[in-house]
Symmetry: C2
Subunit: 505 residues, 2 copies
């Protein structure tokens, strides 16, 4: 046995033990949002806090640092894409990143983000940005300190982005996002001038909640979410959380007067869930069994929600089923009208309600603003007016108040900077992946129209899920599609789908 073998075994056991605590913390958080009695929140925060402290302590421990140093020059690291190579690389990456941030700053960031979220909720309720402004000022200052502590080559925002989308650079993203915006603005303008209007009143009829539940669950199962290894519950803000190799839980919210919100929400979260369920269970807690980035995670949700779930082929199979579930609402609606309705494009103020095309401009706006905040080019006090100016610039609409503007997303008040771009990255990656899948797999649309989604799911599993963190997002896109991140597949997809609906080419 080589001298490094016992060290390697100790490292893996240690990381897996940390994952036991992380997944327990996930359960505490899932339960808080779905099940916990109303008055139990204060103690729950303490439970989460003690586990967070223990996890952070383990991830930054000198013991772990010693093991990593002693494994650095061993045969294990020869192939960076092997399970062992990826494990050592990623554990070291996290260890170094977390160790660079001084403990008092970590603590203050955690405290400020809890207080920030509480202030945000109050500010949003009263529609007064001023109520969260001091919190945001403090948080921006702390994030600037964090970026300096972590270090960067080009711009401090790089250091923050790297937490959510490893190795992606701000300069590269700026270029891609400006290409996206340049292509989308004229597309959206063309649509707003189009004669045809999507018959969206179909979606605003009465959809009984119990039927939405049953239909949503049935379709989630159909596309491959495994309920013997997962659950579907109700929350105000839908999410997907993994808390074990065979325990992935998704949530949605029901609106009896709007079909899309729960249904596409379920497809979206089930897409996240299928990624989690497609990771290798025997690597759970280790990097090869962990999703590689938020952008790649989002690509899986967007792929099932938009590229599959809003396609004609999908509804060839599912529309007759939907009509059985919603006889009154859909009995007299044609599948063509329904398809047009669920693919409506219309500039709007609220990101989470945005359509497949305009959604990306909501992200471009946030991406530009949060960079300016972190660089110090934009004062927090000027945030509402900057926000509104960007909405005029990109979407040609103006929020009537801050609730419809800067007070709609809690992310910044929770200390999340560099998170928003991953939403659009997900859209871009998804378009690239589905193009590649269609080029490799015969008759994918035809299989969708038969209600058969296993071929695509298996392809995604082999190409993406099973690798976990063995590849960075950039490497993965290159490996799967043979090319780098690009805006073209998404734009082409939108033209291809929206042209026939709105009558342009």
């Amino acid at each position: 046995m080589a001298a490094w073998e016992p060290i390697w075994q100790d490292l893996c056991a240690y990381v897996c033990e940390t994952a036991l605590l992380q997944s327990t913390k996930e359960l505490l958080e899932w339960d808080e949002r779905t099940m916990m009695p109303q008055r139990a929140g204060e103690y729950r925060a303490e439970q989460i806090s003690i586990l967070s402290g223990m996890i952070h302590h383990r991830q930054t421990s000198s013991r772990l640092g010693d093991w990593l140093a002693r494994l650095a020059e061993t045969p294990l690291t020869n192939d960076p894409h092997s399970d062992a190579g990826a494990t050592i690389r990623q554990v070291r990456r996290d260890h170094e990143r977390l160790s660079k941030v001084p403990a008092p700053l970590v603590k203050e960031l955690a405290r400020a983000s809890v207080l920030g979220q509480q202030a945000f909720v109050r500010a949003r309720k009263q529609g007064q940005f001023a109520l969260v402004e001091p919190n945001l000022q403090h948080i921006v200052a702390l994030k600037q300190q964090e970026a300096e502590a972590i270090g960067y080559e080009d711009t401090p925002y790089d250091a923050l982005l790297d937490e959510f989308e490893p190795h992606v650079k701000t300069s590269h993203l700026s270029q891609i996002f400006s290409e996206v915006a340049e292509a989308l603005v004229p597309l959206i303008h063309t649509i707003s001038e189009a004669q045809r209007q999507a018959p969206t009143q179909i979606l605003r009829r009465h959809y009984p909640e119990s039927q939405q539940r049953r239909f949503g669950r049935q379709v989630a199962e159909l596309i491959g979410f495994d309920f013997s290894r997962g659950r579907l519950d109700v929350t105000d803000h839908p999410f997907c959380a993994g808390m074990g190799p065979d325990d992935c839980r998704i949530t949605t919210r029901y609106d009896e007067r709007f079909f899309s919100s729960a249904f596409f929400g379920i497809l979206h979260e089930a897409g996240h869930g299928i990624y989690e369920q497609g990771l290798r269970t025997e690597q759970y807690g280790l990097p090869p069994g962990t999703f590689t980035s938020l952008g790649i995670h989002e690509s899986q949700s967007r792929l099932w929600e938009n590229f599959v779930g809003r396609s004609g082929a999908f509804w060839l199979h599912c529309y007759p089923i939907a009509q059985q579930f919603f006889r009154v609402a859909l009995g007299d609606a044609s599948v063509d009208d329904f398809l047009f309705a669920i693919n409506e494009v219309r500039p709007s103020l609220i990101r989470v309600d945005a359509d497949e095309a305009t959604y990306n401009l909501h992200i471009v706006i946030r991406f530009e603003i949060e960079q300016a905040l972190i660089r110090g080019d934009l004062r927090v006090g000027d945030l509402p007016s900057a926000w509104n100016a960007k909405y005029r610039q990109y979407l040609d609409i103006t929020p009537l108040d801050d609730r419809q503007g800067v007070l709609q997303d809690i992310h910044w008040s929770a200390g999340l900077f560099g998170y928003f771009p991953t939403y659009s990255l997900g859209n871009l990656y998804a378009a690239q992946f589905i193009d590649q899948a269609k080029s490799e797999l015969d008759d994918l649309d035809e299989s969708f129209s038969r209600g058969e989604f296993g071929t695509l799911r298996q392809w995604l599993r082999e190409q993406i899920h099973q690798h976990g963190q063995r590849y960075t997002p950039e490497e993965l896109v290159e490996k799967v599609t043979g090319g780098p991140l690009s805006h073209r597949p998404l734009i082409d997809h939108l033209y291809r789908k929206l042209g026939p609906l709105y009558g342009f080419s």
Copy 2:
């Protein structure tokens, strides 16, 4: 500031931190039984196991031992019933007890009880005691070792009993339980000879689950279970679990063809929950904010289930409400017939289905058998025949197979010896407490008949709940009722209630 003050603060903080982990473990276990996806069990066991290890490590740490030693001779311990005095006494008690058991034995007991439960489930399914026999042999041997490690004055069973009912001695319990049996056997015989029969077919009509849910929840609220600090869910084996000062969760199971199982189950668990919710929240995690024994806990559930929930005064208020919920089943049934039905006494084979009177004989049987096993006077291989002989002796019935006999309760296979007696202790304590409450509070029955339960609840809170572990069970009974544990109040209660129903005096 006295020299011991910082030590005292450290000790309290340390114990409260341990409680954060214990309550997190409670959530893991609650979720496993109510929510967890079917295939997630293996990883859940690992999560629970790592937390158990951390908790045990903290409870037996030398740091804690040092603090306890340095606090032993301080003014804090002057009054053993003060918050501080009780905290130091109880933390030391747990620390010493747990430290006496060697770590390998703790680990082996945990492992054996997991395997034992799995074997029990298989054995029960196939009705073959032999499938769990080797596990039980191993567990009995381990429990004998544990008892020796902990130490005892009189009999090894004392050491095990002490875990669940602190300071209660086997000899004392044997005397009380034989008094119970001597009084119950003739009572049950008289009833079995009685002309009158309880009209139990009323309870076997159709009770729709959705209505049972609503009615049960409404009555749980009525008696004082606070749903802003708790939940009610569904499980096969109902239980009550606390996972925070404002987070107490109870469960039940519904049988549409039997009214009593869910309804009295909910009252029972709500009684446990009202005890948990009546503990002082600011003392959560510390002994004054922790229930004092399983027997006292059970007294609270039994008090609400049997002494309140099966009383005429309770149904004067609740029966008209029940008739509204269950128009078909109860529309033509008189409240007198209903009352007789829910108070039927009939010897039966299954403990959890037993009535208020015969229940205690099921416990006497288990108490005698488990003592004999631990003393080594009964071989595990002879357990089924010993079981059946005891059922003939005490209840004059014989199990047809082991599923209806020794394979009905999982406790022993889970390593729980000394647990069963606390069920009957709960009945005895409950009878003593309600007698005392009625002597101190005017017109308690009259208030029940108006649907008013706050007076009793408040009395229980002041007399019992708010003390937590400041008093041992024996001290508490003495303090509340002015006398020691006694079988008389329970027996008198049964004669008083059953005499008029069955027509004897």
